[in-house]
C-alpha cells in the first residue's frame, strides 16, 4: 500500500483540528444515546424535576429489572423475544426463499422464467408502507393477526435478496457446474455442496442487514399486534407512554429504549466488515 504521508493528510495543529471536528460530530451522535442511558439509571423524581442529571445514577439494576420483568403493558423481555423471532424469521426466511429462486433463475431454463424475473423485479419498487391497508386485510383474513407468521411473511415478500444472490451466482465459474454435471451430481447436490458454501460470506452479510431491518420494524407490528404480549420492543416503547396527562415512567421507558438498541448495535459493531459489505451489496 502506498504511503498516505502526503501533503494532503494533516499533522500538527491541523491534525488536532481534524480530531476536534470529528469529536464534535461524535458528541452530536452520542448525546441522545448518553442521555437515554443516564435516564435509565436514575429515579423518576430526578427526571420529572428538570434539569435531570447528566451523569449516571444508582438505579440501573432496579430500572432494567423493572422493565424486563414487568414493563408497562407487557414485560420487555417478552417483547425482546418477539422481536428476536420476527427478525430471525425475516432474515432466515428471506435468505432461504431467495437462494432457492436465484438458483433456479441462474441454473435452469424453464418456461415463465423471464416473466418471473420481472414480477419479482416489481417488488423492489413497493415498500410495505404503501400497501398497508390491503396487506392488513389479507393477514386478518388468514387469522394471522397477533401471530409470528403475520409479522414475518409480508416483510419477506420482496426480491432484493434474490437479485443479490443472482448477481453472485453469475460470477461463479461455469466449470464448477460443468464438473458437477459430468460427475452425475444432481442439481441439488451441486447447490448444497458447492454453491451454498461459496455463498457463505454473502449470506452472512445479508443476514446482518436483514436482521437489523427486521428488528427495527415499526409500522407493521403496530398494525397487527393489538395483543400486548405479541408487541415487539421497538413498537412497544411508544405504547408505554400514558395517554392523557399522566407522567410517563421515563426511567423504564429509557431503559427499554436502550434494550431495544443493544442487539442491532452489537450485531453491527461485531460484524462491521460484513455489515458494510452487506450495505454496499444491497444498494449497488
Amino acid at each position: 500500500m502506498e504511503t498516505r504521508e502526503g501533503m494532503v493528510e494533516k499533522r500538527g495543529a491541523g491534525l488536532w483540528l481534524t480530531h476536534l471536528g470529528l469529536i464534535i460530530g461524535l458528541l452530536f451522535i452520542f448525546f441522545p444515546i448518553w442521555l437515554a442511558f443516564v435516564a435509565s439509571t436514575v429515579s423518576q423524581p430526578e427526571i420529572v424535576k428538570p434539569p435531570m442529571p447528566l451523569l449516571p445514577g444508582d438505579q440501573l439494576f432496579e430500572n432494567y429489572r423493572k422493565a424486563l420483568v414487568a414493563g408497562v403493558n407487557a414485560p420487555v423481555a417478552l417483547m425482546m423475544l418477539n422481536s428476536l423471532i420476527m427478525a430471525m424469521g425475516i432474515a432466515i426466511g428471506k435468505i432461504i426463499i431467495s437462494l432457492l429462486s436465484a438458483f433456479a433463475i441462474v441454473y435452469f431454463r424453464f418456461p415463465g422464467r423471464r416473466l418471473f424475473f420481472w414480477l419479482i423485479f416489481l417488488t423492489l419498487m413497493l415498500p410495505v408502507e404503501v400497501r398497508i391497508v390491503p396487506t392488513y386485510e389479507v393477514i386478518a383474513g388468514f387469522g394471522m393477526l397477533n401471530s409470528y407468521s403475520g409479522l414475518i411473511f409480508p416483510l419477506i415478500a420482496s426480491a432484493t435478496a434474490t437479485f443479490l444472490f443472482r448477481q453472485f451466482f453469475m460470477t461463479v465459474p461455469d466449470e464448477l457446474a460443468e464438473a458437477a454435471r459430468v460427475d452425475g451430481a444432481s442439481p441439488m447436490r451441486f447447490f448444497l455442496d458447492i454453491l451454498l458454501p461459496m455463498s457463505r460470506t454473502n449470506i452472512a452479510a445479508l443476514f446482518v442487514i436483514l436482521f437489523i431491518y427486521g428488528w427495527n420494524q415499526y409500522l407493521w407490528p403496530l398494525l397487527i399486534t393489538t395483543d400486548p404480549s405479541m408487541n415487539t420492543i421497538v413498537m412497544g416503547i411508544k405504547q408505554m407512554f400514558p395517554s392523557g396527562d399522566d407522567v410517563a415512567d421515563w426511567p423504564v421507558i429509557m431503559a427499554t429504549s436502550i434494550l431495544a438498541m443493544i442487539p442491532p448495535v452489537v450485531v453491527v459493531i461485531s460484524m462491521q466488515k460484513l455489515f458494510i459489505r452487506g450495505l454496499v451489496d444491497s444498494e449497488k
Partner: protein
Amino acid sequence: MEKRVTFKGIWSPLLLVLPQIVITAVFFFYPAGQAIWQSLFIPDPFGLSMQYVGLGNFEYLLSNSYYRASFVTTAVFSILVTLVSMGVALYLAVLADRLIKGSGVYRTLLIWPYAVAPAVAGVLWLFMFNTRVGVVTWYLGLLGYDWNHVLNGEEAMGLVVVASAWGRISYNFLFFLAGLQAIPRSVIEAAAIDGAHFWTRFRTIVFPLLSPTTFFLLVVNIVYAFFETFGVIHTITSGGPQQSTTILVYKVYSDGFVGQDLGSSAAQSVILLVLVGVLTIIQFKFIERRVHY
C-alpha cells in the same frame, strides 16, 4: 448475461421458485392489486357495499387542501432530512478521510445510529425536547427560549427532521467515506503541489469526483425520508400539531386505520406507488445500478 452451463429439468426449477412466487403473490401482488382496485371505490358508511367512483377518489384528494398540504410537508421534510444528514455525513467523512490512522475508530463509533430504529431515535429526541422534562428544553428556557413542539408546527418539523437525519448519518457517512477513499491520492496531491488549498481542492476536484456517490445518496435518502421515517413521526408528533408534520405515508396510515377511509387511503397508496416508481426509475437510469438480464 446468461449462464452457458445449465441443468436440465422443468419441474425442479418451478418447485424452487414456488415459495417465493406464493409469498410474493399472496402478500405483495394481491394487496397491491387490491390497493389499486379499492382506490376506484367508496365504501358506504356501514362498510356493506362499495360504490364505483372511477377516479373520484383521486379528484377528491387532489382538490383536498389537507392532502395538498401533506405533499408540501413531505417535500419540505424530505429535502431537509436529506440535506441535514448528507451535510453532516459529508463533513465527518471529509475529516475522517484526512486521518492517516484512527479513522477506523471513528467509523466504528459513527455507525451506531444505523442500528437504532427510527422509532427509538424518535423517543430519544422526544425525551431531550420534551416540554415537561426535556433537558434541552430546560436549558433553552434558561436562555429565554420557550420551546414547545406540541404547539408550534415549525418546531415540531425541526425536531422530526433532526431526529430522522440523525439516524441516517451513519449510512451516508459510510458511502461518502468509501467514495472519498476511492479518489486517487495522486490527483489531490498534484493539486496540492500546484498550491491549491483544501477548500479549493474540495470544490474543484473532490466534490465533482464524488458526484456519483452524492447523487446516489440523494435518491436513497429521499426514499428513506418518504417511507422509513414513519416511526419518528409517530413517536414524536403523531403528525401534529395541526397536521404540520403529516407526511404522505403518515396520512395513508391515519386516513386508512384511524379514519377508516379506505377508498381515500387506497388512492393515496396508488399515488405513493407512482412516486416510488418514478424515484426507482431515476435511481436505475442515472446511477449505474442496472440489472442485466
